[in-house]
Symmetry: C2
Subunit: 391 residues, 2 copies
DNA sequence: CCTTAGCACTCGAGACAAATGAGTGCTAAG
DNA sequence: CTTAGCACTCATTTGTCTCGAGTGCTAAGG
């Protein structure tokens, strides 16, 4: 009983654990043995289930809020559940059609598409969703234009491989006219085009700019602003949707908890940083995308056989999230691709007791739809983007 | 007693009402007669105060949650308080310096400045704050540039009088090259430059574009996108800050109320629309700005004299806000100016029981600092902006 | 006539105890 | 190994009681 057999639980324990997590996700109440046998057609007595539950508890999968209450899943229990037990169904045709519809709309901007994707996820799942703009550090600079707005002010437009565009208003010396500005920007562009963003330094920009053959006094401020604009292209933005939905769930009946959660979510840039630091599965997309559908739903028997599927999403549960104030939450995240090496994250934040299966199926579908749309954007308008981007 | 004398309350009633609102703002507890005389040095017995309170109640300024509880201010009571009773102090030099500091930072963009202003307001007051991007409908188009990003995609940059810049990625026909695009955009710019945004229609754009002398098939999509971009320049954005702070106040201990509030705040565009539809004081800014300080704090005697000061801020209390879910809140809003006729709003949302005086002094100062900064932006870089903008 | 002391009354909040019931662990029999 | 049975635990609910802040009213006093 204390054996903690690493190779996993026997079938009955698995069944019971699944049933418990399912119930708890649904009711948010500690689940007791009697109720469990009633609700699920387990051919067992409550006493037997009690014994099994006791085992599961000493194995670390369950917890008891107090004696004489039912059990609730521990983080480990959820982990087992999402890794091996839950049943992920495909979306119904109606659901997927609805999502496709909402995403298909007008958009020519990655950000617009991301906003929508986030909105879809939030309304589909009923939890908080987020989308992080792509990380472009590894991407190549394709264009850098500077547009005179009025004397002393210019718009710097940074175009990256894969058609990502960022811009920024900057101050420039008053003495600079449109022509000089154009000379500078094309000098910089020529010098830097094709370089990775992360390899561009103030020095490289300065070197490039010097070809413009203009007095340093004029040049310096401009090239500095250009440099900053390039660097800022990699600033991450987060689109949050449906934050207030969390307040509907009983775990947030406590206002303090709700506040902690909201504060955590808004703590500047923390979430973006956290999500981007370990961006889950690297090289399975091809296969994932090739599949007509993500047909890797786990079925009852399948799981027993112990097949280890690589999953295109990542789930972090409770303690696994090392952010203050999010210890009662879970993240389900995945990546999307713009072009070849530019990736970003989308995800759902919910209570630990979230409906993982539904979230996973939705997020996988949104990921797919998003990638499709982004690819379409590329193929139509950015062909040289993907080529140029060193494979 | 039932006389409801329109001309206002006698001095003692005013004093008592002020004391009650002050106390209630501080404690969030219904205030009783005895406590009131204790806390404020009223030279009255509690019985007298009780009588006065009873009067104030029948006049509609106070409410009783239930018999045997103290009184709380009604919406009318708050109204009287903010209009005639509260004492607005100037900020301490330290506070104003701190605000100036936080706003002075780097910025060349209106939006950046607005974000910061909103952040300052939130952290200074402890409530939720918001900033709405300026309404530019009445503003004049100064430039319209189209920048080729890659075949089939372009960036449309719209520059308005007063140096407001908006841009947008659009699709264009693949066949269009950079040169043609430049011709189109300069044709449109020439044709529309100087027009008010609100006067620009698809027809005027088309007429302007036709001067480019390019085949219609190429032209049409581009001019349509140009048109949309121009129209979208007037889309309002809202920057919210400190939403979660509201959850600290006892009126939002109830999660449902908190949720309603959060939902209301995020309901798309509602707040922006609401704020912008009646943008308070129109023509007193000159004077306000001229004053060394907003020295119009209401002092005890002054108010009795019934001077009607025009106030550069607007307060909406409870029921006066016609937005679902905001009935327990108050808005304190004001306008800022970019150039001559471009205005936007900033404001604070708090519980009805908010510290109006502190909020007002902060918001006035932020407004002033914001206007200064924006003016500086204008004067330095956008001189022709204010000239061109028809006075 | 206004103010104030006094008093009876109201009513929510908090404390406490008892009842309820869902759930457990253990044991002994099948 | 399973299961019926039983004693036990403990959070939650319900009811009762008290406490106290607050009110309105009345009658006496300046």
């Amino acid at each position: 009983m204390e054996a903690l057999n690493r190779q996993g639980l026997d079938e009955r324990k698995r069944q019971i654990l699944r049933a418990i997590v399912d119930d708890y996700i649904e009711t948010a109440e500690p689940v007791g043995s009697r109720n469990l046998v009633d609700r699920h057609a387990l051919n067992l007595s409550s006493a037997t289930v009690r014994n099994e539950m006791s085992d599961l508890e000493s194995l670390g999968y369950l917890e008891q809020p107090h004696t004489s209450a039912g059990r609730i899943p521990s983080d480990l229990g959820y982990r087992e559940y999402v890794d091996h037990l839950m049943r992920v169904d495909e979306l119904t045709p109606e659901e997927s059609a609805a999502i496709r519809d909402r995403l298909r709309d007008s958009f020519d901007e990655v950000t617009e598409l991301l906003r929508k994707a986030s909105g879809v996820l939030a309304s589909q799942t009923g939890y908080t969703s987020l989308a992080v703009t792509p990380r472009v550090r590894q991407s190549h600079l394709r264009q850098l234009k500077m547009l005179m707005i009025e004397p002393g002010r210019a718009l710097v437009v940074v175009v990256l491989a894969a058609g990502v565009v960022k811009d920024r208003l900057v101050r420039i010396p008053d003495a600079l006219d449109a022509d000089m500005l154009a000379r500078i920007s094309s000098a910089i562009e020529e010098g830097l085009s094709g370089m990775r963003l992360e390899d561009i330094t103030l020095v490289t920009v300065a070197t490039a700019a010097s070809r413009a053959r203009l007095p340093e006094t004029l040049l310096n401020q401009v090239l500095y602003e250009a440099y900053v604009s390039i660097k800022q292209a990699d600033n991450l933005e987060v689109y949050l949707e449906g934050q207030h939905r969390m307040l509907e769930y009983p775990e947030f009946r406590d206002v303090d908890r709700a506040r902690t959660y909201l504060e955590a979510i808004h703590r500047d840039g923390i979430i973006a940083g956290y999500l981007s630091e370990d961006s889950c599965p690297e090289r399975d997309e091809e296969e994932d995308e090739a599949d007509p559908r993500f047909a890797k739903t786990v079925d009852d028997q399948g799981t027993t056989a112990g097949i280890r599927r690589r999953c295109p999403y990542m789930i972090r549960i409770g303690q696994e999230i090392s952010l203050d104030g999010m210890r009662d939450c879970s993240f389900v995240t995945t990546t999307y691709k713009v072009g070849d090496r530019i990736v970003g994250n989308i995800g759902v934040i919910g209570p630990k007791r979230m409906e993982y299966a539904r979230v996973v199926s939705n997020i996988q579908f949104v990921r797919k739809a998003l990638n499709e749309n982004l690819r379409r954007l590329m193929v139509r308008y950015g062909k040289q983007g993907t080529e140029e981007d060193g494979r």
